[in-house]
Symmetry: C2
Subunit: 487 residues, 2 copies
Amino acid sequence: MSQELGVTVDKENDIHEWYRQVVMKADLADYGPVQGTMIVKPYGMKLWSSIRSEFQDKIDNEVDNAYFPLFIPERLLDKEEDIVDGFGAEVAYVEDGSEKDMEERVAIRPTSESIVTDFFSDEIRSHRQLPYRLNQWANVVRWEVSDTRPFLRTREFLWQEGHTVHETHEEAEAEARKRLKQYEEIVEEHLAIPSVLGYKPEHDKFPGADYTYTIETLMPDGRSIQSGTSHNLGQHFTEAFDVTYEDESSEEKTAYTTSWGISTRLIGSLILAHGDDNGLRLPPTIAPIQVVVVPIYQDDNKEEVLEFSREAENELKGIRTEVDRRDHRTPGYKFNEWELKGVPLRIEIGPDEAESGTATLVRRDTGDREEVEIDRLGDRVDELMAGIQEQMYRELETYQEDNIRTAESKEEMLGTIGRSRGYVRAKWCGSESCEAEIKDEVAAEIVVLPFEEDSSPEAVQSGGTVEGECAVCGGEARKWAWYAKNY
Amino acid sequence: MSQELGVTVDKENDIHEWYRQVVMKADLADYGPVQGTMIVKPYGMKLWSSIRSEFQDKIDNEVDNAYFPLFIPERLLDKEEDIVDGFGAEVAYVEDGSEKDMEERVAIRPTSESIVTDFFSDEIRSHRQLPYRLNQWANVVRWEVSDTRPFLRTREFLWQEGHTVHETHEEAEAEARKRLKQYEEIVEEHLAIPSVLGYKPEHDKFPGADYTYTIETLMPDGRSIQSGTSHNLGQHFTEAFDVTYEDESSEEKTAYTTSWGISTRLIGSLILAHGDDNGLRLPPTIAPIQVVVVPIYQDDNKEEVLEFSREAENELKGIRTEVDRRDHRTPGYKFNEWELKGVPLRIEIGPDEAESGTATLVRRDTGDREEVEIDRLGDRVDELMAGIQEQMYRELETYQEDNIRTAESKEEMLGTIGRSRGYVRAKWCGSESCEAEIKDEVAAEIVVLPFEEDSSPEAVQSGGTVEGECAVCGGEARKWAWYAKNY
């Protein structure tokens, strides 16, 4: 716990400073000694472990875990030119000291497509091995030089990266879509954050991908954050690395691959999306502590209050509960601290409660208080856990719905983005230069071509999915694009 | 599966090549493209995940997980001079490219005492926070230049490193001992490998440690391998990094720390200790597949054999079972493959078995075969799992007991180590130069001062625990030392 308790700025007024304080004061992370790095503290690590085990459960039956080296020879990165272009300046290398006597220049992995596909080229022989699915939980390094912030943008972060090999483009496509759908479940159900799924524009795809899918979530400052991605890599990597297999009729075929990842960045989304002026607010699903019991006592009634607190704790089977028995802190201090740390429900137990056999429940999300008899406590807390989860999701859903606006001309787009926050939905001809015009003026870009708009490349190729004109250039429109400022 | 099935050399004759082939052919790992690195393949990763979850369970209630940056500023490493001396040549650094514009030289963590203790100096304020215990599951880098081998010695490996802070030397000591004991449980119970626990000699301690403890296991080539270590770091690091706390009477005190770790090296021990000429042998506790069912059929009885195999599988609740239904492989091929992969028990089911309602069980460890009726299958397999585990442990225990020899003079020591393998037990005066004489001549060193010999520094300070003369110099002996060649 930092010495100075409580967040000293409003989220609305200074979200940057608010975020920094919540991260530090809620004990989620600290700055590492090398600029742009972070120390994930135990409370923050519990959030990541929860996301990790939730996703691991989803893929357990289909995907094997493996571990690939942190070190990738530069020649492998160079094999896939788009990767070098895409990540170039951010790639860190191992020092070529004379003592080390290195044979070749060695990169520190920014992502593992190159080293994994190189492995596939040795490993994959026959159609019987396909589909072949691997995942790794690992650290990756992108030497960001500006705007680094814990969880949101750090030079090193933790993630999972899945890599799969398939016989056909359709299978690869189904795989990429399936994992994106699983990310949606994590984001919506586990983190209680509504999301928008769709394509990235052609010019903003992962280097070498046929399609890049994104799951976008809208933050309270009106900016969109990419909370996970999935790529149908087609034969781009398999051709560069010569990944072939023998099909059923013994013919040599080139395989198809996908890759997909979520990272500790999700914790950044979680903090931003749900927090308030008092600090973190955690949905019950992911909260390391779901209920905190705070006994309130004087010397002369300490024993019965603590005894009754124990009884209350015993009623909460299956709920992650902590009883805060610290003697050197006042109840008020404890209330503030657990609010700061986002615990979804507080139970106050004083001498009155101990005597009447009740407990006072206070919700973190709404501040609502209620008194509950001890023998109804378990059931009521179960109800509240579900209710809080639902309420936290609905709140963001309303916010998101209120912040999707349609604009019909460039002026209207600029005005809308400048004046308000959120997504601006506009017809688009598909050209990068139209997006660039908006980007140059208001630093917003196309963050997603949502599935719900049917902006798939196929639909668009067959004449486009939207009638009318591109809001920017007035040319023939082909799809609906969602613009936003982003993280 | 590699194309050429089966290990082509005897373990006894060429353990290096045998090891390489088992690692590759049993699909445990592959070489990474950068020299000295490895790709941990899914089957190998399952072994590490099993060790990880077993150890995590042991520490779950006491130790929090965290994650510290991979990157450590050189100035932090420099703060603890012994660390620089101890790891110097093996530390890799991030390239100081002009694009990166780095403020200082950045190391890639060889171990995290410096960065963690630096964090403690900010984090620890009060005695109320103590004991403070952290653990991280992470990759570490030691730029080894020679003799690299998958799992046993790689430039990057996976491990857990625990770091704790205490009020007193005694508490730190108890912590270091407790974790060593937990490592013993992992090694003996989970990996079925007998071990010897004790001190490292003064001159071979972890840089800066008061005491370094080791768990040593004897490999079939007679060399000892350090399978885990635990360090009582005393105030060495806390003084260098100024980690103080306020005690109960508000006095500022310097804290004590420990650190302890096990790594993917344990998988190397596991392979070496149990494997035989046919490949890997896995104890049931850690085996990803404990029982493989191999159906043996022709076209005309395929259906009933597969049906009966399913029945057999259903009898094996709680056992990690796989039914090998591959049509394109012969039963013989399958037998070899699963032997190579070390599956503890094979169940053969052919038309005769299907008709008589029995199954043929074949043990991987002894090769023993038996026929069992289907309704006794579950119970019998449970018995066998326990029996195989026990038998595999006993076998190594006998081997270890047979390979501890006592020597009374330098000549006898050299003769014994030269002639036979294993541990040579000798009286020692405590001087590094006596060990060096042995090391120079036969490349064996003191690997452990076992607890069972009561060679604790305290016991030794109070006059020594052994009467007589140092086997090497003839000076006054102080302790029993165990010499061995090591990994």
